[in-house]
Symmetry: C2
Protein backbone atom coordinates (compact mmCIF):
# COMPACT_ATOMS: atom_id res chain seq x y z
CA UNK A 1 0.00 0.00 0.00
CA UNK A 2 1.07 3.56 -0.62
CA UNK A 3 2.55 5.52 2.26
CA UNK A 4 0.41 8.61 1.65
CA UNK A 5 -2.75 6.55 2.18
CA UNK A 6 -1.31 5.26 5.45
CA UNK A 7 -0.38 8.81 6.49
CA UNK A 8 -3.91 9.91 5.59
CA UNK A 9 -5.43 7.08 7.64
CA UNK A 10 -3.28 7.86 10.65
CA UNK A 11 -4.11 11.58 10.47
CA UNK A 12 -7.82 10.77 10.13
CA UNK A 13 -7.81 8.49 13.17
CA UNK A 14 -5.91 11.05 15.26
CA UNK A 15 -8.19 13.93 14.22
CA UNK A 16 -11.28 11.80 14.93
CA UNK A 17 -10.03 10.87 18.41
CA UNK A 18 -9.11 14.50 19.17
CA UNK A 19 -12.76 15.36 18.49
CA UNK A 20 -13.94 12.38 20.62
CA UNK A 21 -15.94 10.91 17.74
CA UNK A 22 -16.58 7.21 17.13
CA UNK A 23 -16.20 5.86 13.58
CA UNK A 24 -20.01 5.53 13.53
CA UNK A 25 -20.60 9.17 14.48
CA UNK A 26 -17.97 10.46 12.05
CA UNK A 27 -19.46 8.32 9.27
CA UNK A 28 -22.92 9.73 10.00
CA UNK A 29 -21.70 13.34 10.15
CA UNK A 30 -19.73 12.97 6.91
CA UNK A 31 -22.42 10.99 5.09
CA UNK A 32 -19.99 8.13 4.49
CA UNK A 33 -20.10 4.42 5.30
CA UNK A 34 -18.59 3.27 8.63
CA UNK A 35 -16.74 0.46 6.83
CA UNK A 36 -15.21 2.98 4.42
CA UNK A 37 -13.98 5.12 7.36
CA UNK A 38 -12.42 1.99 8.85
CA UNK A 39 -10.64 1.11 5.57
CA UNK A 40 -9.42 4.71 5.19
CA UNK A 41 -7.98 4.69 8.72
CA UNK A 42 -6.13 1.47 7.90
CA UNK A 43 -4.68 3.07 4.73
CA UNK A 44 -6.44 0.47 2.59
CA UNK A 45 -8.36 2.97 0.43
CA UNK A 46 -7.23 6.11 -1.37
CA UNK A 47 -9.78 8.80 -0.43
CA UNK A 48 -11.36 10.94 -3.12
CA UNK A 49 -11.40 14.71 -2.78
CA UNK A 50 -15.19 14.36 -2.24
CA UNK A 51 -14.60 12.12 0.80
CA UNK A 52 -11.83 14.37 2.12
CA UNK A 53 -14.08 17.43 1.95
CA UNK A 54 -16.94 15.55 3.68
CA UNK A 55 -14.53 14.48 6.45
CA UNK A 56 -13.17 18.04 6.80
CA UNK A 57 -16.73 19.29 7.19
CA UNK A 58 -17.55 16.65 9.82
CA UNK A 59 -14.27 17.28 11.70
CA UNK A 60 -14.69 21.07 11.38
CA UNK A 61 -11.22 21.58 9.88
CA UNK A 62 -9.97 22.99 6.59
CA UNK A 63 -8.43 20.86 3.84
CA UNK A 64 -5.12 22.66 4.44
CA UNK A 65 -5.17 21.63 8.12
CA UNK A 66 -5.92 18.03 7.10
CA UNK A 67 -3.13 17.93 4.51
CA UNK A 68 -0.66 19.47 6.94
CA UNK A 69 -1.40 16.56 9.30
CA UNK A 70 -0.97 14.06 6.42
CA UNK A 71 2.37 15.54 5.30
CA UNK A 72 3.65 15.61 8.89
CA UNK A 73 2.90 11.87 9.01
CA UNK A 74 4.66 11.25 5.69
CA UNK A 75 7.80 13.04 6.87
CA UNK A 76 7.83 10.86 9.98
CA UNK A 77 7.75 7.73 7.79
CA UNK A 78 10.86 8.97 5.97
CA UNK A 79 12.87 9.64 9.14
CA UNK B 1 -20.87 19.11 -9.76
CA UNK B 2 -19.14 19.92 -6.51
CA UNK B 3 -17.29 23.21 -6.27
CA UNK B 4 -14.14 21.67 -4.74
CA UNK B 5 -13.70 19.46 -7.81
CA UNK B 6 -13.99 22.55 -10.02
CA UNK B 7 -11.49 24.41 -7.84
CA UNK B 8 -9.18 21.40 -8.07
CA UNK B 9 -9.52 21.29 -11.86
CA UNK B 10 -8.82 24.99 -12.22
CA UNK B 11 -5.76 24.77 -9.95
CA UNK B 12 -4.49 21.74 -11.88
CA UNK B 13 -4.83 23.52 -15.24
CA UNK B 14 -3.10 26.65 -13.94
CA UNK B 15 -0.24 24.68 -12.36
CA UNK B 16 0.18 22.62 -15.55
CA UNK B 17 0.33 25.76 -17.71
CA UNK B 18 2.79 27.43 -15.33
CA UNK B 19 5.09 24.45 -15.91
CA UNK B 20 4.50 24.61 -19.69
CA UNK B 21 3.26 21.03 -19.83
CA UNK B 22 0.67 19.66 -22.24
CA UNK B 23 -2.03 17.35 -20.87
CA UNK B 24 -0.25 14.53 -22.71
CA UNK B 25 3.11 15.23 -21.07
CA UNK B 26 1.58 15.65 -17.61
CA UNK B 27 -0.36 12.40 -18.06
CA UNK B 28 2.84 10.59 -19.02
CA UNK B 29 4.87 12.07 -16.14
CA UNK B 30 2.14 11.25 -13.61
CA UNK B 31 1.38 7.80 -15.01
CA UNK B 32 -2.27 8.76 -15.55
CA UNK B 33 -4.54 8.72 -18.58
CA UNK B 34 -4.76 11.91 -20.69
CA UNK B 35 -8.57 11.65 -20.72
CA UNK B 36 -8.61 11.47 -16.92
CA UNK B 37 -6.45 14.64 -16.70
CA UNK B 38 -8.92 16.36 -19.03
CA UNK B 39 -11.94 15.31 -16.91
CA UNK B 40 -10.15 16.42 -13.72
CA UNK B 41 -9.42 19.85 -15.21
CA UNK B 42 -13.10 20.19 -16.10
CA UNK B 43 -14.09 19.31 -12.51
CA UNK B 44 -15.94 16.24 -13.74
CA UNK B 45 -14.03 13.74 -11.59
CA UNK B 46 -13.13 13.76 -7.92
CA UNK B 47 -9.41 12.92 -7.76
CA UNK B 48 -8.16 10.25 -5.39
CA UNK B 49 -5.27 10.97 -3.05
CA UNK B 50 -3.26 8.54 -5.24
CA UNK B 51 -3.89 10.73 -8.31
CA UNK B 52 -3.18 13.93 -6.40
CA UNK B 53 0.18 12.59 -5.19
CA UNK B 54 1.10 11.45 -8.73
CA UNK B 55 0.23 14.92 -10.07
CA UNK B 56 2.23 16.62 -7.29
CA UNK B 57 5.22 14.48 -8.19
CA UNK B 58 4.89 15.31 -11.91
CA UNK B 59 4.38 19.04 -11.20
CA UNK B 60 7.21 19.04 -8.61
CA UNK B 61 5.07 20.61 -5.89
CA UNK B 62 3.99 19.47 -2.42
CA UNK B 63 0.44 18.42 -1.57
CA UNK B 64 0.20 21.46 0.72
CA UNK B 65 1.05 23.78 -2.19
CA UNK B 66 -1.57 22.08 -4.34
CA UNK B 67 -4.26 22.32 -1.65
CA UNK B 68 -3.43 25.97 -1.01
CA UNK B 69 -4.13 26.63 -4.71
CA UNK B 70 -7.40 24.66 -4.49
CA UNK B 71 -8.61 26.51 -1.39
CA UNK B 72 -7.71 29.88 -2.93
CA UNK B 73 -9.95 28.92 -5.86
CA UNK B 74 -12.78 27.85 -3.53
CA UNK B 75 -12.68 31.17 -1.67
CA UNK B 76 -12.92 33.00 -5.00
CA UNK B 77 -16.09 31.00 -5.83
CA UNK B 78 -17.64 32.17 -2.55
CA UNK B 79 -16.88 35.87 -3.10
Amino acid sequence: MKSHNHAFGKALRELRKTKNLSQETLAFEAGLDRTYISLLELGQRSPTLDSMMALCHALKITLTQFVTAIEAGMEKQHE
